[in-house]
Symmetry: C2
Amino acid sequence: MSVVRPEDLSLCEPAAKPRVRDRIFETACELFYRHGIRAVGIDAIVCAAGTNKMSFYRSFPSKDELVADYLRYKDAHFWTWWDGVVAPFDGAPRQQVEALFAAHVNKTCSKESRGCGLANAAVEIVEDDHPGRAVVVSHKSEIRRRFRALASAMQARDPEQLGDALMLLMEGGYLARLTFPKGGPVTSALVAARTLMDAHGA
Amino acid sequence: MSVVRPEDLSLCEPAAKPRVRDRIFETACELFYRHGIRAVGIDAIVCAAGTNKMSFYRSFPSKDELVADYLRYKDAHFWTWWDGVVAPFDGAPRQQVEALFAAHVNKTCSKESRGCGLANAAVEIVEDDHPGRAVVVSHKSEIRRRFRALASAMQARDPEQLGDALMLLMEGGYLARLTFPKGGPVTSALVAARTLMDAHGA
DNA sequence: CAGCGATGTTACCGATCAGTAACGTACGGT
DNA sequence: ACCGTACGTTACTGATCGGTAACATCGCTG
């Protein structure tokens, strides 16, 4: 059960020095996403960020709290993405969903993708008092809420049913990405979403 | 980032004594599924199994190998389940898929469920030389193959598309289960599957 | 120049991790 | 009665984990 070890992270370049806290946070975000939360230790983070453990603990109270921050960042980033994709089609929920799935397929198929960081965290974080859990739960609840709202706005026959189905398609794509490097089932998500919406008369 | 610790596992009951290896393996399977692979250490396993570390390493070459065995077991168990669900509807692929989704929703909604152990492993296992990775990959590939085969058998207009979509629905349900304790989006999976199949004229 | 906040350095803590060596014991078949 | 197999016990290794104490240094501002 080996792990990401400090040495093999781009040889700890000391470069670029804007505010240590930010460097640490950026590095942590990337490592957590790429390698998983449990697989990345504090040593690996600070080394990759070109600093040391003390500077880390001067900026963050604990690793768990850093993880929670990472998840909050991912959450915010996700909704920025969502809103950006949806904006051009304001008032046209059907097109909005299509745009979302098109963008989702595109994003999830890129070779840097490791699915959804928040979904992955849902697997990795088992302690239910972990500060990150609440972030994950509220994030996924909001996704469900929005999909249902969109389904409702497009006057689907059964909005809750359609909304949930759309969510399952999207989440399934994230999960599948982890085992299918490219050309996986995700590629079918857009068409599937269209089919579902058609069937719901939307 | 706390973890399952040896003490809080049912106080290490020494009960039931058939073949230590089997006891260890059963215990490990349950713990891995319930708490995750990385969260469960060897000490926790052997203590919960009422034995000790030496007995473990006399039966298993390493933790990674135990994990791979666990995943192989989950894989076999899954296909037994699948075949059992599908058997009564031999020759009727449409009904087979419906039965699969009905059973899937049912299983995934039970309160002991923590989604799919193999999918969870896909998140937790980041090293690509881990002996468990291959198991996960071949498992998910087989799911995709079977769904596509079923879609083809039911003469769907686009079997590969439908097969992938069905897979996404199922995987999405597994993932959603981890954040929605009950009554989550999974409950819509069966109807969604029906809708998709209808739309494909199958 | 003085002083202060932000950072780096080194060395440490106790806990836990996967894994091993050496030895003791209980039981079952012959 | 003997012996081998299976199992338990204790103690240990070296690495890594998250987290901390004490002290040195840098650069900016007054």
